[in-house]
């Protein structure tokens, strides 16, 4: 079982990210579960969402405390939230940032596996909005697999309709441009 925690701010679509991956994984015949960190919805406040994907039936409904993967949609959260909390020793931190992986290591003293991508720039160029949740799915899939990139098509189409293509393109670019350091 792979457990993922998404960090975002209310309104940035962290919950949607977790949902879309879960839908794609279930379409592939895997078992998956996605849920938000429940609470009153507050735009801009730090939020987390959780995802579990497994080959077997998932029988656990508590929050994810020891994720295999942490996805950070908004780099400004790194200064106010310990995003790597509980991350497994072999886990990977996937960050939307304009900084290089060396800078991230230096600024945050993070020693583990790291994947970085400038999702803000990609999202602005491809979709003209600074919303990175679908873009970051490309980075997540590149860094950790979980689902096939093409499995995202159906959930993205269903969710975004005529703007799905732009989301897919941004996701593809993030997949291509993500830099992973062990």
């Amino acid at each position: 079982m792979t457990e993922v925690r998404f960090h975002g701010r209310g309104g940035q679509g962290a919950v949607t990210s977790a949902e879309l991956i879960a839908l794609a994984a279930i379409d592939e015949g895997q078992f998956a579960q996605a849920f938000p960190s429940f609470g009153p919805e507050r735009r801009g406040a730090p939020v987390v969402a959780f995802l579990r994907v497994s080959k077997d039936q998932i029988r656990i409904r508590s929050k994810v405390y020891q994720p295999d993967i942490v996805v950070v949609l908004d780099p400004t959260l790194m200064d106010i939230v310990d995003v790597s909390s509980g991350l497994k020793p072999k886990g990977i931190l996937v960050i939307n940032t304009a900084k290089t992986w060396e800078q991230i290591r230096k600024d945050y003293g993070f020693k583990g596996r790291l994947a970085v991508v400038d999702a803000d720039r990609i999202a602005m160029e491809e979709m003209k909005v600074p919303i990175t949740n679908t873009t970051m799915l490309g980075a997540l899939i590149r860094a950790a697999g979980i689902t096939r990139l093409e499995s995202m098509d159906r959930p993205l189409d269903a969710r975004f309709g005529k703007i799905a293509e732009r989301n897919k393109k941004a996701m593809q670019r993030a997949f291509d441009e993500t830099i992973i350091k062990e």
Partner: protein
């Protein structure tokens, strides 16, 4: 053949209500029930479900309108949570004693104060004695299946009582997971059109909900009680039919790795699955731990419960509501009372946990099982223990 699709449990429940082809939905939105009724109102507005959606001004009215709709022979549905359910309280009794078959989803949430929108079972447990059939889902698939079954149980001429289908707020209602939605054709075969036994009809006028003097009141209560107790037999038949058509079996009390278990966790609702994972890991370590979960809470399935625990030396009952000033929680209270008639009975360790959305992890279930085992060894005298309370 239907296949499993990923969807939010709340959406799946509203799709089940659509498959049940309801005539009237009356509801007032309250977190965390909202997604269910929002989706239903969309289905009605889009013409996908031919039903009347009555947006009311309070939950008291929501249930009243559903009672009225069912009284004229409509298949009626409502849903609520927490304070909303509390506001329905007086109509809860009216619905059962008037023998109104309707279905309500209760998306379980704590009762204020302090204001809390998260999950526990204190809302439905405060309605324990309202004369409703009460079912608990442990996952999204069960929430869908129980919703369909609920209509069939409620509308059976031998029952004619309202049914509450409980699912945990947020931790179940807001989760995306694989769910199989049955075909409409199969649902229609399982759940025929509602044929009311008695209804308000201008051509054959009757009065429903009239006065009942002391000369008849007890007889009416006896009738409701017998119908509620009898609903278990009907539920068993409904579950048989459901299994034949959809291939999923349901029982009033379910066991998990209970064979050879000396300690049994006793759970209700979606915490059951996390508890199962705890049982798996304890079993791997050679501990004789199993689990039972109670699906049919009202009427309480005494026979099946005794059968399920017959090998156990110790029960670790996990309550998610408190009976303040009493022996612990409502489930523990029920079980201890039920066991009193037995000469040989297991030790009962009663825990109250997870109130107001406190997360219940695999480790917490393992902790409760271990404590129960320890307390049983010394036959520790305990009423109950509240789990996870900070002492300093």
């Amino acid at each position: 053949m239907p296949i499993q699709k990923g969807m939010e449990v709340s959406i799946a429940v509203s799709e089940a209500v659509k498959l049940a082809n309801v005539d009237v939905i009356s509801a007032y939105p309250i977190t965390p029930q909202t997604h269910i009724v929002e989706h239903l109102s969309e289905l009605v507005a889009d013409g996908e479900l031919k039903a009347a959606f009555i947006p009311v001004e309070s939950e008291h009215s929501a249930l009243s309108a559903a009672v009225g709709a069912a009284a004229v022979g409509a298949r009626a549905y409502t849903a609520t949570s927490s304070q909303g359910l509390a506001l329905m309280h007086e109509i809860m009794f009216v619905a059962s004693s008037m023998r109104i078959p309707l279905v309500m989803t209760v998306v379980n949430r704590a009762l204020s104060a302090p204001i809390n929108i998260w999950n526990d079972l204190s809302d439905i447990m405060a309605q324990r004695d309202c004369g409703w059939v009460q079912l608990f889902a442990i996952n999204g698939q069960e929430a869908v299946d129980l919703t369909l079954q609920a209509f069939k149980i409620a509308e059976d001429p031998r029952v004619l009582l309202p049914v509450a289908v409980n699912l945990d707020g947020f931790v179940l209602s807001h989760v995306i997971e694989p769910i199989e939605l049955p075909d409409q054709e199969a649902v229609d075969r399982f759940l025929p059109v509602f044929k009311p036994t008695l209804r308000l009809d201008p051509d054959q006028p009757v009065s429903m909900g009239a006065f009942g003097s002391p000369e008849v009141f007890i007889e009416v209560k006896k009738q409701v009680e017998e119908a509620l107790i009898g609903s278990q037999k009907v539920a068993a038949e409904v579950w048989k039919d459901f299994g034949d058509i959809f291939g999923r079996t349901y029982k009033p009390v379910e066991s998990y790795k209970a064979k050879g278990a000396e300690i049994l966790l006793v759970t209700m609702g979606s915490i059951t699955e996390t508890a199962m994972t705890a049982v798996d890991s304890m079993r791997e370590k050679g501990r004789k731990v199993g689990l039972i979960h109670i699906r049919l809470w009202r009427p309480f399935p005494f026979k099946e419960f005794f059968q399920a625990i017959r090998e156990a030396k110790c029960l670790a009952v996990v309550d998610r509501a408190l009976v303040p000033g009493g022996v612990g929680g409502p489930v523990g209270l029920e079980i201890k009372s039920a066991l009193f008639e037995k000469k040989e009975r297991p030790y009962v360790a009663e825990f109250v946990a997870g109130l107001g959305g406190r997360d219940l992890t695999v480790e917490v279930f393992a902790e409760m099982a271990a404590k129960a085992e320890r307390y049983a060894k010394t036959q520790k005298e305990m009423r109950y223990e509240m789990i996870g309370v900070r002492e300093k």
